[in-house]
Amino acid sequence: MSAGPTSGAVASTTGAAPAGAVLLEVRDMTVAFGGVTAVNGLSFDGHQGEVLSVIGPNGAGKTSAFNCITGFYKPSAGRVLFDGADITGQRPARIAGRGVARTFQNLRLFGELTVLDNVRAGMHVRLRQNAFDAILHTPRYHRSEQEATDEAHRWLDFVGSTGDRGSAVRNLPYGEQRRVEIARALAREPKMLLLDEPAAGLNHGEKDQLLDLLRRISRLGTAVVLIEHDMGLVMEVSERIVVLNYGKEIADGTPHEIRTNPAVIEAYLGSEDAEARAEAEQVAQMSDEEIFGEREAQS
C-alpha cells in the first residue's frame, strides 16, 4: 500500500486534468460573528481534480469559508456536502478523515517537532499500529514506523523541501516551512486540498516553484482549492475562480472572464484612483504575459 506520490512525477506544461464530478458542494453557507457576517449565503462547487481559486478583498470571508468547510467554524446557516455526504458542522477531525486537508493562513506547524514528525502527522489516521505494538516493539510496529518514515521523505521530496528533516521545524526559513505544511497536508492523501495563501511571503522565484508544485499536486488527482492574493499565480494555475466580497459570491468563472469582469476590478483589482488602476493593470497585464508565456523583461 505504498502511498505517496509516484516518485519522479515532474512538472509538465500541459494544462491540468479536466474537471471531474462534483466533490464539494457549498450551499448558501452563512457565518456570523456577533455583528459581523463573515460569509453571507455563499454557494459554490468544487470538482474532482480541479484547481479552484477563491479570491476577494481582505475580509471578504475566504478564510472563514475555509474554516466552515473544514469544521473549524460552525456555519450559522447553509450546508456543506463533500463527496455526497453532508459534513455541515462535523468536527474537523471527521471532515479531515473524509479526505479534506488544509493549510492555514498563518503557518500552523508543530514548531517543536521535527520536520519528519510534522509530515507523519498527516499519516496518523492511516498507520496500522496500536499502543501495545509500540510497547512491545512488534514487527507490525517496526513496519508501520518504517513506512511512515519512507512516505514522509517521499512527500518532502515531492514538495521539494531541502532543509534538515531531523530537527525542529521552527528553525527552517519561512519558505521551507510553507513547503513542509503542504507536505503534511498531502500526507493526509486528501481528495481535496485547501490552501490558504500559500504564496504569501514568497518571492518571485519561489512562487514559480509553488506554481509547479500545485500543478503536480493536481496531477495526482487531488482537487485543489486555493485562496491567494497573488494574481499572477491565481490566473496561471486555476481552472476556475470564485470571487467573494463581503461574504457574497460576486463572480465565478475562468481566469479570463474574471480578469475582465468589471465587478471584480471594482471590488478587488481596484479602480478608484489612477495609482490603484495602474497597479491593477500591472497585475492583470503581468498575468497575461505569464499565461501566454511571453518572455520580455519590463520595468
Binding site: 460573528f33 474554516n67 473549524f72 467554524y73 492555514f104 500552523r108
Partner: protein
C-alpha cells in the same frame, strides 16, 4: 438570629477576604500566566512582618493602637511589595522564555523557602498579634457582623474597584494586558516589559501583605503555614472568576466563600471543600472560561 442571612454574611466576609489575596494573585497570574504558589506565603510573610513591627516597633507609634496598625499596614505592604520584586527578579525573570511550567518549580521553591525561612526565624510555634479588632458588632436583620468584618469587606471591594480601573483604563493597565498576550510585540510598542511586570508584582505582593496584616489583626494568630491554604483558595477564586480578570477574581472569591459557608451548613464542615470543588467542576464544565473570562471564537 436569622440563620440563612448569617450564612450569607459569613460567606461574603470569608469571600471578600479570599478576594483580597486573589486580587494580587490574579494580577500576577494575568500578566505572566504564573501559578504563583509563593503568593500565599508572601501573605504569610506580610502577617509576620506586621507582627514584628507591632511587637517591636509599636512602642514608637504609641502602643498597639489602631493608628499604629494602619501605619504598620502601610509599612508591611511596602515590605511585601519589595519582597515580590525580589522574588520576581531572582526566581521568575531568569526563566522568561523557558517553558511556562518551569516557573512553577521556582514558585514552589520560593514558597518552601519563605515558609521554612520564617519557621527557622520565628520558630514553628504560632505567634499571637499584640493588638486586634474588638468584638464590636452590628446586627443586620438578626445576623451579626463585627465592625472589623465590615471594614475588611469594604477594603476588599474598594481595592478591587481601584485595581480594576487601573488595569482597564490606564496606559499601564493596557500595557499589562498587552504583555500577557505578546511580550515581544510589547517591546516594539516601546513598553518596558520588565518594569511593568515588576510593578505588577509589587502591587500584587503588597496586597497580599495587607491581607496578611489584616488576617493577623483579625484572627490574632499567625503561623508559618498560614499562607498555604489561602494561596490555594486565591488560585481557585482567580480561576472561577476568569483568569486575569480582577472583578472576576473577587467575584469568584465571594462565590467560593458562599459555597463554603453553605457547604458547611448543609453537609457539615468536613464535606465543605468537597461541596465547593464539586460545584466548581460542574460549573466550569458548563462555563469553561469562568464567571467573567471572555470567550472568543477561535481564529484559525
Amino acid at each position: 438570629m436569622d440563620y440563612f442571612l448569617q450564612l450569607v454574611l459569613n460567606g461574603l466576609f470569608v469571600g471578600s477576604f479570599y478576594g483580597l489575596v486573589a486580587l494580587g494573585y490574579s494580577m500576577v497570574y494575568g500578566i505572566i500566566k504564573l501559578l504563583n504558589f509563593a503568593h500565599g506565603d508572601v501573605y504569610m510573610v506580610g502577617a509576620f512582618g506586621g507582627y514584628t513591627l507591632l511587637t517591636f516597633g509599636a512602642g514608637a507609634l504609641g502602643g498597639g493602637s489602631l493608628v499604629a496598625l494602619v501605619v504598620i499596614l502601610v509599612v508591611a505592604m511596602v515590605m511585601t511589595g519589595t519582597l515580590g520584586l525580589v522574588l520576581e527578579r531572582i526566581a521568575y525573570r531568569p526563566l522568561r522564555g523557558a517553558p511556562r511550567l518551569s516557573v512553577l518549580i521556582t514558585a514552589v521553591g520560593a514558597s518552601f523557602a519563605l515558609e521554612y525561612g520564617i519557621a527557622v526565624a520565628y520558630g514553628p510555634n504560632p505567634r499571637v498579634y499584640p493588638v486586634g479588632f474588638g468584638n464590636a458588632s452590628v446586627t443586620i436583620l438578626g445576623a451579626r457582623l463585627t465592625v472589623a468584618q465590615l471594614l475588611m469587606m469594604a477594603v476588599a471591594v474598594g481595592l478591587m474597584i481601584a485595581l480594576d480601573q487601573l488595569v482597564r483604563r490606564t496606559r499601564t493597565g493596557r500595557a499589562m494586558r498587552a504583555i500577557s498576550q505578546d511580550p515581544k510585540a510589547c517591546l516594539l510598542m516601546g513598553i518596558n516589559v520588565d518594569n511593568v511586570i515588576s510593578r505588577t508584582f509589587f502591587i500584587g505582593s503588597a496586597l497580599a501583605g495587607a491581607a496578611g496584616v489584616m488576617a493577623g489583626a483579625y484572627y490574632g494568630k499567625v503561623d508559618f503555614l498560614m499562607g498555604f491554604i489561602i494561596g490555594l483558595k486565591a488560585f481557585t477564586a482567580a480561576v472561577i472568576g476568569g483568569i486575569g480578570n480582577l472583578r472576576g477574581a473577587v467575584l469568584g472569591a465571594i462565590v467560593l466563600g458562599l459555597l463554603e459557608s453553605f457547604g458547611t451548613a448543609f453537609l457539615g464542615a468536613q464535606w465543605r471543600d468537597v461541596f465547593a470543588f464539586a460545584f466548581l467542576i460542574l460549573f466550569l464544565t458548563v462555563r469553561p472560561t469562568g464567571l467573567l473570562g471572555e470567550r472568543v471564537t477561535e481564529r484559525v
